[in-house]
């Protein structure tokens, strides 16, 4: 620390982690008010993965995400107005209110969508990587998945294909120890590093709650993928502070587990890299941005029934 570029990076990463945190806290309030359709999966405690990984990407790089994808969308550059309006199901949302929480997407920024189907984003990232490869783009694709998705057979198919075709794809595992309401050590008998080794794919593990560490590991791994080194896996050990979904009573979860997670808070750790005035300035700015976006979304009109079916087909 100390170099201008390091300070700039620490500020940037803190700003992203904080933006995701404050945005999701605002969502919890909006949900309680009944303004958000459906249910939402918050990534509180996991924001450093989104912030760190996206910091290593360029706008042409593409990302596929999961049901817990708010942070990925925000960190990949989705505007906050579009984000909140989408979550509230408004016509000015990123997906014109047609996607909501589990389908936030911003194709122009390479965010190819959160996904309501566990593991489904992985082959989509592969296809995007194939397009990068065939069209000679200087771009990588990133497939984000949870540790629960390791039990889906599709992961194996994708690792095999990615290696076979040497695709420019990075697999990012958000390992929070949970798959819905069951710890993943009661669902899965293998570890990702061994699975990676079996496929001949490099595996890098990182403390997913240390945003600086995620960012530097991601930068390193992405650089290798970008140079044509083929696929890689970045496993981020992280913590799901809340329940599976917002409002989850978390029956059967040990309160000590929750307390331990709070102690590893990525937000506090990201803040520690900054001076107090720096952090306070960012906090004031982010708070104002979130407030403005929430106000925008609250006032935004809903989609019209008359053109609800108009976008099912292009022609």
């Amino acid at each position: 620390m100390g170099k201008t570029s390091d300070i700039a990076r620490a500020r940037r990463l803190y700003r992203t982690v904080l933006t995701i945190r404050r945005a999701e806290e605002a969502l919890a309030v909006l949900l309680a008010e009944g303004l958000i359709p459906g249910f939402i999966h918050l990534s509180i405690g996991q924001e450093a993965v989104a912030a760190g990984v996206m910091d290593a990407l360029t706008p042409v790089d593409t990302v596929t995400s999961t049901h817990r994808g708010h942070g990925h969308a925000i960190a990949k550059g989705m505007g906050l107005d579009a984000f909140f309006a989408e979550l509230l199901g408004r016509d000015s949302g990123a997906c014109r209110g047609r996607g909501g929480s589990m389908h936030v997407a911003d194709i122009s920024r390479g965010m190819l969508g959160a996904n309501g189907i566990v593991a489904a984003g992985m082959p989509i990232a592969l296809g995007s990587a194939l397009a990068h490869q065939i069209l000679g783009r200087d771009a990588v694709a990133v497939a984000i998945f949870g540790d629960g998705a390791m039990a889906e057979g599709l992961l194996h198919e994708c690792l095999n294909l990615a290696r076979l075709w040497n695709l420019p794809v990075l697999f990012v595992c958000e390992n929070n120890g949970w798959g819905e309401f069951l710890p993943t050590d009661r669902q899965i008998v293998f570890s990702l590093d061994k699975l990676a080794a079996a496929h001949g794919i490099a595996h890098v593990a990182v403390d997913g709650n240390d945003v600086a560490a995620v960012a530097s590991k991601a930068a390193e791994v992405v650089a290798g993928v970008r140079k044509g080194g083929g696929p890689a896996i970045l496993e981020c050990h992280t913590t799901r502070v809340g329940g599976h979904y917002e409002g989850d009573p978390q029956r059967g979860r040990d309160p000590a587990d929750r307390a331990a997670n709070a102690a590893r808070d990525p937000l506090i750790r990201a803040r520690a890299a900054l001076t107090e005035p720096d952090a306070a300035k960012i906090e004031a700015e982010v708070t104002a941005e979130i407030a403005a976006a929430v106000a925008f979304a609250r006032a935004a009109p809903p989609p019209k029934w008359e053109d609800a079916a108009a976008s099912v087909y292009t022609i």
Binding site: R98, L112, I117, A120, L154, L164, V312
Partner: protein, 324 residues
Amino acid sequence: MTELRYNHAVNRAMADAMAADPTVVLFGEDVAGAGGVYGATRGLRDKFGADRVRDTPISEAAIVGMAVGAALSGLKPIVEISFIDFMTFAMDAVVNQAAKMRTMFGAQCSVPMVLRTQHGGGAGSGPQHSQCLEAWFAHVPGLKVVCPADPASAYGLLRAAIVDPDPVIVIEHKALYATRVPEPDSLPILPIGKAAVLRPGRDLTIVSYGAALRAVSDAAATLAKEGIETEILDLRSIQPWDEAAVLASLARTHRLMIVHEAVEAFGVGAEIAARMADIGFDELDAPILRVGAPFMPSPVAKALERRYMPNADNILAAARRLLA
């Protein structure tokens, strides 16, 4: 006289599309080296290179999901799934991803991909290699489904599918690959959603598609000897289907039958019958009849499969009921 074979028409459609547009790519199991189970992709890797024509491992879920991502990122992928029965492994990518993305992303994108596959019986291939599952896909908003019945349609519909900005499932028929016609003067791109009148007639309309049209033609020839003129409509496109053409034909003949090889229950025929019973009610002089497979998995034994598939006899029997 030069002839055009169905599988060669499929091949030519892909070759012409790939020559016209460098973003068209083709992948699937055994499409590159072996040229496809039915020879439809033979020679394409030599013409267009190993980058654009690729053999995949046996990973249907991954390769169809990959087509979705490729389509989102600037390619126009054609994926071959050698039997429609194997689509079960790829259903998430088709149904939850490809079909819905344009809608659920608020029209930010479309998903220009083509899934080429084949369906149908007659070859004793049994319950897991003979199914006609087109109705599954026609039931999902966001997908288009076509079933070419002859070489010219195989060419024209596949070309249309490849330029179409939305996901299209092109369902060929294993019994049609070796069929041939005299080389047509021209091979136009055929619009998706338009039916063709194969035979004009005034007494009854039979709507069908794919290989079942052969049995329909046989039945119509028999009826013609008795002075009964059957109008045959080749639907060509299942989703969207040409409601206007069916209604216009019904308005000429006032009697309607739908014939398909797929299981009759909850099938394409059910949808057409229900629509015509609604918007064509005033035209009807008889109940609308369907001829399709009975509600059971496809049999293997020839003696059973012959009876299982629609044939001229059961079409004739239905026609006589319709005309009674």
